[in-house]
């Protein structure tokens, strides 16, 4: 039933949108349903009405325009004013999130509600449902990071969760990023812990063996070498034997990974005696294995020469 025909709304004078006298920009062919709902929303917002019917109206608007930047704030104000059951709010929100996968206001709203409830129970289950639809959804991963920090869930199976996600898809870079967060997001101390760093090196190398051309674990491995420190220090050159197995410079036909070549180029450029090997790796990348980035590999070569002449 339309709002204008509903006895529940009979006392409200709808407030139509005013686009001005001339031809507006970016005018949208609104449905009558949306135009009417928005006119009633303006009317109740204008009088700051905090009511059940206004709450239902915000649901209608969100279904049609979830990016409306104040309807969510208005909804929160109503929920808190009427002291609504926030668990019911979660139940309302879940299907909305599953339909509007790209909307980010809903995750902000979810943070507000979960923060007020002060309890994360059930959240990881819901997140799993979201990941079943899109395992790389940026908003959901961002929300999970917030959840982990807000409720100190660092050691509540989070590392195992990243392992499971990577078991399902070793190329899921969002899962790799989350792993970095879980391991190193609490403070820099982890970079100096040999047990942690070696565990990560082992896990990363195992993953590379599954798919040598997958950039995610290579980026992770190189970052480990860059950041590990103190007793856990991991010199880049220590990764040379591992990289060699995927890009033997003595057998250029057997190269299995451009990322291994890239890493070898960097390792060999650190040592004047091995510069030729660095050139060779960059040459293979530019002309044979990654010609899309030929300009970049040639730039790296030129940088090497620049260093050499110093």
């Amino acid at each position: 039933m339309s709002y204008s025909a509903s006895p529940l709304w009979a006392d409200i004078v709808p407030l139509p949108q005013d686009d001005g006298p001339g031809q507006p920009l970016a005018a949208i062919a609104y449905s009558e349903k949306y135009s009417e709902a928005m006119s009633y929303l303006r009317a109740v917002m204008a009088s700051n009405e905090m009511s059940e019917r206004a709450l239902d109206l915000t649901s209608d608007i969100i279904a049609l325009n979830p990016a409306h930047y104040t309807v969510w704030l208005y909804r929160v104000r109503i929920l808190l004013t009427l002291k609504k059951d926030l668990h019911a709010e979660l139940s309302w929100m879940n299907p909305v999130a599953l339909v509007h996968l790209k909307n980010y206001q809903i995750w902000h709203h979810r943070q507000t509600i979960i923060n007020a409830l002060n309890n994360p129970d059930g959240e990881t289950d819901f997140i799993s449902k979201m990941f079943a639809k899109d395992a790389k959804n940026y908003h959901v991963w961002s929300y999970r990071q917030w959840l982990v920090k807000r409720f100190s869930l660092w050691d509540a199976g989070e590392l195992e969760f990243t392992e499971q996600m990577l078991k399902e898809d070793v190329r899921n870079n969002s899962a790799w990023n989350h792993r970095w967060y879980v391991v190193f997001g609490r403070g820099d101390e982890a970079f100096a812990d040999p047990d942690i760093v070696m565990r990560e090196v082992f896990f990363t190398q195992q993953s590379i063996r599954l798919a040598p051309q997958n950039p995610s674990p290579w980026n992770y491995l190189r970052a480990l070498a860059r950041r590990a420190s103190g007793p856990a220090a991991l010199p880049l050159s220590s990764l040379q034997p591992f990289a060699n197995t995927f890009a033997p410079l003595s057998a250029p036909d057997a190269v299995k990974s451009t990322h291994a070549l890239d890493l070898l180029a960097e390792i060999h450029s650190e040592n004047e005696a091995d510069k030729d090997k660095a050139y060779q790796a960059l040459e293979l990348l530019a002309t044979r294995y990654d010609p899309i980035r030929a300009n970049y590999w040639n730039y790296r070569r030129a940088t090497l020469e620049g260093v050499k002449t110093v």
């Binding site: 686009d19 949306y34 079943a132 990071q145 294995y289 980035r293 940088t303």
Partner: protein
């Protein structure tokens, strides 16, 4: 950059693009844009700026004097009495507006940047912009940690995400209304630029990209916003090879991350990209074990010629999408490293795969055009130097002509001369 597009079988169909954008200007946008109703100012900017990039905005056949006046009036109609602009007229209570309901009708940071840009492109002199109120409001939009939000609550709380999109738009507003003036302008102290730069620094990721918040995943759009903030703040490094930037911890790593975004397209059912401006496109989970994935990062051999059409993704191991050609290429341009990118396959991806025969660009190959991807595709070609499109400013995201108009405005020249 001189573009060699000799290998392209499809050319840039300029008349079709002009027609696409004229339709956006003169007729109602389809009902599906309802989910973008709150971002109408953004859509308005895309329309005006696209017609400007196509050198047809000044043609009375595109926009008569009367239509131009109407367009300018509509934008000013969205100006908020307390500074800034609304994203659409839908929250305006008209005569019923009062202090109690003002909280539901705020000015919006991105909308304000888009409104100012559209006004400049319409050759308005911005004299009717409430600059003091706008800049004072902009200061209130910054949080103590340096980040910016989207809208302001009545109690002064900054609402909206903390990501760098809002910081980028805030720096754009600052640049437009006060140039590089040090200290107060229009009677208002400057925003905390150092604080914002600090936020950006903390968002650099372990793989060399930049994210929305510390430890979040590197993303092409956020990387663009972050680098644009640094460019507006004049905090980018010189292009000396190997030099570390003061505010970018490792420019070589960032360069590498940006260039790694250029990957072959995959023919695959479903859509897992997250760049869409609209909110009603559902994503579909990918099957990582599908055969298509084996070709995601092909190793070209002598038997496999290098692919001709190669676009960009926004994150590692994601699908290419029209808009990332802009976000990535413009980021490289700001780092003075656009020449390292393979421009010809990048253009071919847009022209042969996502350009639509009715004009505009779709998100992926074969998809119908939408305003967001149509603008980003056009902007990317402009940046890559395609003929028939005006040169574009990488951080401002509109034509150099438009920038020149803005910088030549009398009030702005005087303001900048004083400092």
């Amino acid at each position: 950059m001189k573009l060699q597009s000799s290998n392209c079988t499809m050319s840039f169909d300029k008349p079709k693009h002009i027609n696409y954008w004229k339709r956006c200007l003169k007729t109602y946008l389809p009902n599906a844009y309802t989910s973008n109703d709150s971002n109408r100012m953004t859509l308005a900017f895309f329309t005006i700026s696209a017609l400007d990039l196509l050198s047809t905005l000044d043609d009375p056949a595109t926009l008569s004097d009367e239509e131009r006046a109407s367009a300018v009036a509509w934008i000013y109609r969205c100006q908020h009495p307390n500074g800034g602009f609304r994203g659409f007229p839908g929250t305006d209570f008209g005569e019923l507006s009062n202090a109690e309901n003002a909280v539901w009708d705020p000015a919006n940071v991105p909308a304000t940047y888009f409104a100012l840009m559209a006004l400049a492109l319409l050759r308005d002199d911005l004299m009717s912009v409430r600059k003091t109120e706008c800049l004072a409001w902009l200061r209130r939009m910054q949080r103590p940690d340096g980040s910016f939000g989207e809208t302001l609550s009545l109690d002064g709380a900054v609402e909206g995400g903390t990501d760098s999109r809002f910081g980028y738009c805030a720096m754009g507003i600052r640049w437009m209304l006060r140039g590089a003036v040090e200290g107060p302008a229009w009677g208002v102290p400057d925003i905390d630029v150092e604080g914002l730069v600090r936020v950006i620094r903390n968002c650099q990721t372990y793989d060399g990209g930049i994210s929305e918040l510390p430890f979040h995943e590197a993303h092409g759009g956020f990387t663009y916003c972050a680098l644009s903030v640094l460019q507006f703040a004049q905090r980018l490094p010189s292009d000396t090879a190997g030099q570390k930037a003061g505010d970018l911890s490792d420019i070589e790593l960032t360069t590498r991350w940006l260039l790694s975004r250029q990957v072959p397209a995959v023919d695959e059912e479903g859509d897992d990209s997250d760049s869409d401006a609209s909110n009603n496109h559902s994503g579909t989970a990918q099957n990582p074990h599908s055969a298509a994935f084996d070709h995601f990062y092909p190793i070209p051999t002598a038997d496999v010629p290098r692919p001709l059409c190669i676009g960009f993704n926004g994150r590692t191991n994601k699908l290419t999408d029209t808009c990332y050609t802009w976000w990535i290429a413009a980021s490289l341009k700001m780092l003075k490293r656009l020449h390292l990118l393979s421009a010809e396959p990048a253009c071919a991806y847009l022209l042969e795969q996502t350009q639509h025969r009715i004009g505009g660009f779709g998100k992926h190959a074969g998809e119908p055009p939408d305003l967001y991807h149509s603008y980003m595709g056009l902007a990317a070609l402009a940046l890559l130097g395609h003929e028939g499109i005006k040169p574009i400013h990488p951080s401002a995201c509109f034509s150099l002509d438009g920038v020149q108009w803005l910088e030549g405005l009398e009030w702005r020249t005087k303001l900048c001369a004083k400092s």
